[in-house]
């Protein structure tokens, strides 16, 4: 065998990469974690105490979690059916749909918030339309509220859900359907007894990615409501950005709790996936 690579070469190729990951990822996150437990006297839980007893911040968490769960569920249901429809198109058509999905997945943050202002803002296209048709309940809809945020969150969840669910659907083999049909199962029975149970781990995993995606989202909500609407991400942003009221210690503690929430969601989905796998 040839001498593969010298130790010096390995170090030379790998160390810049490792240094970058350390400096701009691991060290900041670890430092944030450590300082969230510190004040001038040393170890403290005061930051966490003030987060967990602050109704306003807790409300931010509740709002974020509700928004994330509901937007993830809606996006998941819509794409489950939509991907089912897409699967029956020809290969070139499917490819075009995926390209379109990729394109819209880039359409997020500030540009997305603006697009919804054009459609549903105070003098938005649909706002005028609803007014003209005299649909009172719809024309009083405010984009700058929970409902408006939900519409925007659903929008950026959809392409992600589609891209994650597509390969999962792709795993359902045509032969299984044929075998089930030969044995007398209806399409409905096939999906209920075979299709959905096989895909279930993937669906749960997709849900947790969508949940995390929405929990960490900041730009759209910021563009739409400034710091007015109470979400965790918005709270963190205003705590580190405010020049006078900046409270980085508090922001660290909230960020750590947010990270823990997201990691817990991931672990829960891992756990439920391994549980359903064992059952199968």
């Amino acid at each position: 065998m040839i001498v593969l690579i010298s130790k010096r070469q390995t170090v030379a190729w790998l160390s810049p990469f490792l240094v970058l990951v350390l400096l701009f990822f691991l060290v900041p996150l670890l430092y944030m974690l450590i300082t969230s437990f510190q004040n001038s006297d040393g170890f403290t839980l005061a930051q966490y105490q003030s987060v967990l007893t602050n109704d306003y911040i807790l409300q931010g968490f509740t709002n974020s979690i509700t928004l994330s769960v509901i937007s993830a569920v809606i996006a998941l249901i819509v794409t489950l059916f939509a991907v089912y429809a897409i699967m029956r198109f020809s290969e070139p058509v499917r490819e075009k749909i995926l390209i379109l999905t990729n394109l819209t997945s880039n359409f997020s943050g500030i540009p997305l918030a603006f697009a919804f202002i054009v459609l549903l803002g105070n003098s938005g296209l649909f706002t005028l339309l609803f007014d003209k048709w005299g649909i009172g309940t719809l024309s009083s809809f405010s984009l700058y509220s929970w409902g408006g945020l939900l519409l925007i969150y659903i929008y950026f969840q959809l392409p992600l859900a589609l891209m994650l669910l597509y390969p999962i659907y792709d795993g359902i083999q045509q032969q299984w359907k044929e075998a089930a049909a030969l044995l007398g199962a209806s399409t409905w029975q096939f999906w209920m007894k075979i299709g959905v149970p096989v895909m279930l781990p993937g669906i749960v995993g997709t849900f947790s990615v969508l949940f995390a995606n929405a929990m960490g989202a900041y730009a759209s909500a910021y563009a739409l409501t400034g710091s007015n609407y109470n979400l965790v991400a918005i709270r963190i942003g205003s705590l580190i950005k405010g020049d006078i009221f900046a409270q980085p210690e508090l922001a660290s503690a909230i960020a750590v709790i947010l990270a823990v929430t997201m990691v817990t969601a991931m672990l829960l989905s891992e756990w439920s996936i391994s549980k359903t796998r064992r059952k199968l």
């Binding site: 690579i5 990822f25 500030i110 910021y222 980085p248």
Partner: protein, 261 residues
């Protein structure tokens, strides 16, 4: 049959929901006046012309391109060789890279921003360099995926061994044999990274702020002052993303085609 129509309905709904905001914003960029009527009162190129004459916008655009492409270039120079070394010579450590990929992908900018500010704000390091570094690490998932997919298509290790047996130096084997093989996938990954960074707002806004005004920050500023100018900015953004997406799709197709040989 009934259920089939049901699924198609959802698909149609999805497409309309995804396309409508894009089309409406693009149309708004050409509208003379669109405050009282359902459709624009007239069409004009005035907003686009105004935007292109605005030195502030041109500079912001330049900064965005510079920052995003700078991060991509650094990532190509630093991350790609590291991935090669691990995949080719230390495959058992590849799971560490994969773990880093998952972590980088799942930690949102809003959390990372807190850490970056806490560590670097007191050192007097220019914060723009901090964001640049975070961008380089942030695109690790896309660069890794691009490199890895192409490497899987060829037995890179065997190619490299053969080349070295024939007396080619390691560097030559790398640049003349491996790079051309992974080029389409890597290029697609680089373009994807660029488009992700071009749309990045959280880190640049929170860590650096208006001291380094990118297109996203410029857009945020115009959001409340001029809807027409904002829509012109979004129009340019959409066109750029469209071109990039198209290029990525073509490249990915080509690199997939190479596998079938």
């Amino acid at each position: 049959m009934k259920k089939r129509g049901f699924a198609d309905l959802f698909f149609l709904l999805l497409v309309v929901y995804l396309v409508l905001p894009v089309v409406a914003t693009m149309l708004y960029a050409f509208a003379t006046n669109w405050n009282k009527t359902i459709m624009p009162e007239g069409l004009t190129f005035k907003w686009l012309a105004t935007l292109f004459q605005d030195a502030e916008f041109i500079q912001a655009f330049g900064r965005s391109v510079l920052l995003s492409s700078g991060a991509v270039v650094i990532a190509l120079l630093v991350i790609v060789p590291a991935i090669f070394v691990i995949v080719l010579y230390f495959p058992k450590y590849e799971k560490w890279i994969q773990m880093a990929v998952v972590m980088v992908y799942s930690f949102p900018g809003i959390i990372l921003a807190v850490g970056l500010i806490r560590v670097y704000s007191k050192f007097g390091v220019p914060m723009i360099l901090v964001v640049l570094g975070a961008y380089v690490v942030g695109i690790l998932p896309y660069i890794y995926q691009g490199t890895r997919n192409s490497l899987r298509n060829v037995d890179a290790r065997q190619l490299l061994d053969a080349a070295q047996l024939l007396g080619v130096s390691k560097l030559q084997a790398f640049t003349k044999i491996l790079l051309p093989t992974v080029y389409p996938g890597l290029f697609a990954g680089a373009l994807l990274s660029f488009s992700v960074l071009f749309g990045e707002f959280v880190l640049i806004n929170l860590v650096v702020g208006s001291r380094f005004e990118t297109v996203q920050i410029y857009l945020m500023k115009k959001l409340n002052t001029s809807g027409h100018i904002a829509s012109a900015v979004v129009l340019i953004y959409i066109v750029l993303m469209g071109l990039l997406t198209f290029a990525i799709a073509t490249l990915t197709k080509r690199s997939k085609g190479a596998t079938n040989l």
